[in-house]
Amino acid sequence: MVLGALFGALLGALINLNGNGHYIHWGFIQISVANLTVILLMILVFVLAILIPFPKRKEGDRK
């Protein structure tokens, strides 16, 4: 029964994104907070991917 309740909780949403959407109006642009978040996250991840150092190989690895 406990497992069932846990599974049931997992199958539902912890954060309910249904309901009225939130939108930002900027000039002629209208964008949802959700989409803006995704786009900003993409830019952030891109910048981090370029800036974060990649692990160095051991000296003996080069051939």
Partner: protein
């Protein structure tokens, strides 16, 4: 390209490259792929557990006609008299003259023609009502209407349209002010009743056969009314709200459609009756531009000018400098 031509061509740093003759380091791409597979699985499960996914139930003709019988009747009369958006759409549904979108002589909608035929009067009103058994008043009204000359039918439908503009809903039932609209009042009233029982949903779908999976007719009927559009507007899904990018509620939608929907917000596409075709042509040109970017001077130089590559390959440049 011939070897001689290749020799004659100057080195262009935005097109050509000195192939790598330097060091190689061990790299396990299968292990990398496996780790990525697990990482994305974890990400996906987390997002699904935390946010789930939206599923707003479909609108039925039954739900529409119960929630707003006035809008339903106002739409139904335009289907009967052939003035609805679907009835006047043109190809691929019917042959309404001068209805296709075009840019100059370019009119592909007209060229491809009618291949999804819809006769709104027959398919949305008369046909469904003819399937009703034990409805002598409805059948009689249909017989009178169909036997009358076109001018008389037009007079009745025009009069009904004027009257139904002031229609009200009384206890969920349609109430249309009296007028000289002959049998049309009974016809539209019966259709509204049929929709409210759920019979119209099933009949419109099964016109294509018992196992039909083609929802063209019920969807076109729904889209001709205001109920579906009002709900979409409330959810910020309309075309002039950048709706193509959006999802119901607070879910992220299709952010990758940002450029496609942007053109619908700007002149002249936002007010043009050929806006859809204009936007498609723009997007086809831009898509081809992206595919053929390596051939386009100036654009293909942007990576070299912006120097982002110096960050990406900074370790390589550092090693070169110290060598």
């Amino acid at each position: 390209m011939s070897a001689e031509r290749a020799k004659r061509r100057r080195f262009n740093p935005d097109r050509d490259v000195r192939e790598w003759k330097g060091a190689y380091v061990p790299y396990d791409i299968v292990k990398e792929g496996f780790i990525a597979f697990l990482a994305v699985a974890v990400l996906m499960v987390l997002l699904a557990v935390v946010f789930s996914s939206p599923d707003e139930p479909a609108i039925t003709l039954k739900r529409w006609s119960i929630a707003d019988p006035v809008d339903f009747a106002q739409t139904a009369i335009t289907e009967l008299d052939g003035t609805s958006a679907t009835a006047t759409y043109g190809p691929p549904y019917n042959s309404t003259p001068d209805s296709s979108q075009h840019i100059g002589f370019f009119e592909p909608e007209q060229w491809f023609g009618v291949h999804q035929p819809v006769d709104t009067a027959q398919d949305f009103v008369i046909g469904p009502l003819r399937t009703l058994p034990h409805q002598p008043a409805t059948q009689a009204a249909l017989n009178v209407y169909l036997a009358a000359p076109a001018a008389q039918q037009n007079a009745w439908t025009t009069a009904y349209e004027k009257a139904v503009a002031n229609a009200t809903e009384v206890g969920g039932r349609l109430h249309v002010p009296a007028g000289r609209y002959g049998p049309v009042g009974v016809i539209i009233g019966s259709l509204t009743d049929m929709a409210q029982t759920g019979g119209l949903d099933g009949t419109l779908l099964s016109e294509g056969g018992f196992y039909n999976t083609n929802y063209t007719k019920p969807l076109l009927f729904l889209a001709d009314g205001s109920y579906l559009a009002n709900k979409a507007n409330a959810e910020h899904l309309a075309g002039d709200q950048w709706g193509m990018m959006n999802e119901t509620g607070n879910y992220p939608g299709q952010a990758w459609l940002w450029l496609y929907t942007m053109w619908y917000q700007v002149a002249p596409m936002n007010t043009s009756s050929n806006g859809d075709l204009e936007v498609w042509v723009i997007m086809m040109v831009l898509s081809l531009g992206l595919i053929f970017l390596p051939f386009i001077p100036l654009l293909r130089s942007i990576p070299r000018w912006t120097h982002v590559y110096r960050l990406i390959w900074r370790r390589h440049y550092r090693e070169l400098a110290s060598a």
